[in-house]
């Protein structure tokens, strides 16, 4: 990396992406980068994350508490985002889903509003 004349080491694509973190909820050891090279910040098995970035003021956060997945948001491009909420300080973050995320949990979060509706949904069938 330090030698710019070496074409092989100057490219970021060739740097070795290793590193793991332990999930704060299920304890799974997860590699920091997914198979397609994108950086992941939540556990692919239970989708829980950890509060390490302060999104209100920027920079790192000293909270470091667990963040639970609470909602699925859809971008204009059609991609899904997972919205996490910190269990300690209630901050919300949104992160793109990875391809190897647990699809069962993703689908459960996506359909949970319709499963627990506060008003009857039958009237919308006629619309």
């Amino acid at each position: 990396m330090s030698n710019p004349n070496n074409p092989r080491s100057s490219s970021h694509q060739h740097t070795l992406k290793v590193g793991t973190f332990t999930c704060a909820w299920c304890g799974l050891t997860v590699s920091t980068f997914a198979a397609d090279g994108t950086r992941r910040n939540h556990c692919p098995s239970c989708l829980h994350s950890q509060h390490v970035t302060d999104h209100v003021e920027g920079g790192t956060s000293e909270c470091r508490a667990r963040m639970t997945p609470i909602a699925i948001a859809v971008l204009r491009t059609g991609d899904w985002m997972v919205i996490h909420r910190c269990v300690r300080c209630d901050e919300l973050t949104s992160n793109p889903v990875c391809t190897d995320d647990n699809q069962l949990i993703l689908m459960r979060i996506a359909v949970r509003p319709l499963a627990q509706a506060p008003f009857p949904l039958e009237a919308f069938g006629t619309l």
Binding site: A73, I83, L92, Q103, R112
Partner: protein, 141 residues
């Protein structure tokens, strides 16, 4: 992995609403009616079912005025916040996740009793409307 509570136990304890200790009079802002930035509807602050109305009941648009604590009116952004998605609390309450269009901040608020049901359901089915992602998810199950 820690076990979750049974759903029956979960329903029994209803969470009380957050105590309203924020300074609606001290900060100098109006604690009363507001005009929606999305549809210009004049919205009164008393809503059925909640004491913390922060969005228009018709178009669900909100305004980014709170910083960290809900109701502190400490944010200088004042951007428009669009409803992004819905989440469900453990006790079955729906929460709207708002997303600030100017700074990207997220916030959550409970739905009120007079919120537009059609707008809420449109928001709820939004992850399932796009068939490519939803069917790919279902196929891998």
């Amino acid at each position: 992995m820690p076990r979750r509570k049974l759903p029956r136990e979960r329903n029994r304890l209803r969470r009380p609403q957050r105590h309203k200790d924020v300074l609606h009079t001290q900060g100098g802002h109006r604690g009363n009616a507001f005009r929606c930035v999305g549809c210009r509807l004049e919205v009164s602050p008393d809503a059925p079912g909640t004491a913390h109305r922060n969005h228009c009941p018709t178009c669900l648009t909100s305004l980014h005025v709170d910083h960290r604590v809900p109701g502190d009116r400490a944010s200088g952004c004042r951007g428009r916040m669009e409803a992004l998605s819905l989440s469900v609390r453990q006790d079955g309450e729906w929460m709207i996740i708002h997303h600030c269009l100017s700074c990207g901040e997220l916030s959550a608020n409970r739905i009120a009793g007079d919120d537009n049901a059609l707008a809420l359901v449109r928001l709820a089915v939004r992850p399932l409307r796009d068939t490519t992602m939803a069917s790919r998810t279902l196929l891998t199950l």
